[in-house]
């Protein structure tokens, strides 16, 4: 399993689109920094194939006033959860 970490907002380019097309069936996605904007209800359709494999970083949601606005299906993890995901994943790929 590879952990894909995205720090770009969905409107900042094609990063998110490229990540989603590159992910294998057992890979996980973690949104951090401006990437947490991807975890908004209006964009939920983008991630339906990632049920149970999509995460978003609590601290970055909170600093942007977005905590609590996530659609169902996004697991909110804190920085310890981030480390835990990197432990579980054989490799971590950062997209920026």
């Amino acid at each position: 399993m590879i952990l894909h970490v995205v720090n770009q907002a969905p409107d900042a380019g094609r990063t998110l689109e490229q990540v989603l097309s590159a992910m294998a069936d057992d890979d996980c996605l973690l949104l951090i920094e401006d990437g947490v904007v991807g975890a908004m209800p209006t964009l939920a359709a983008l991630f339906t194939a990632l049920e149970g494999r999509r995460y978003v970083l609590r601290e970055d949601l909170e600093s942007r006033g977005l905590l609590g606005r996530q659609p169902e299906g996004f697991a909110i993890v804190d920085i310890d959860g981030f480390v835990n995901l990197t432990e579980e994943a054989a490799k971590t790929v950062s997209w920026y």
Partner: protein, 130 residues
């Protein structure tokens, strides 16, 4: 596990350095070993010893130095990326005929081979980019 962190972004321009420092502390808090933080591309600007941000802002330079002092984490800076941005230690300053130096321990100027070694030797290498 043995971890290493790669920082590619300049401090105060992007969130990457803040994220990396917070991640570093979380790695250590979970009982892992953090071998090194490697600064490359604009990330080398984290090593500027004369950085003096306003007192009410996060003190990234102090944060990295404390991380190194308290947890014996190496702070490695790509020498080629550093020199072209005016970042050099006393030895490089003398070699290039410059009157001052802008990098000092615990930051150390190293070659890219050190990054390759981290990738080979550590269990996890986590990148924070722009």
């Amino acid at each position: 596990m043995r971890y290493a962190i790669l920082v590619l972004a300049a401090p105060y321009s992007h969130q990457a350095s803040h994220s990396a420092l917070r991640f570093a502390h979380a790695v250590l808090a979970r009982g892992h070993q953090l071998d090194s933080v490697f600064f490359y591309h604009d990330g080398v600007c984290n090593a500027a010893r004369l950085a003096a941000p306003p007192q009410d802002e996060p003190q990234l330079l102090d944060g990295w130095m404390n991380l190194s002092a308290e947890h014996d984490v190496a702070l490695q800076v790509c020498i080629a990326a550093a020199l072209r941005r005016g970042l050099m230690d006393e030895r490089e300053a003398a070699r290039h005929g410059k009157s001052g130096h802008s990098v000092e321990p615990p930051f150390e100027l190293v070659g890219l081979g050190q990054l390759v070694d981290l990738g080979l030797g550590c269990d996890r290498l986590i990148t924070f980019g722009t």
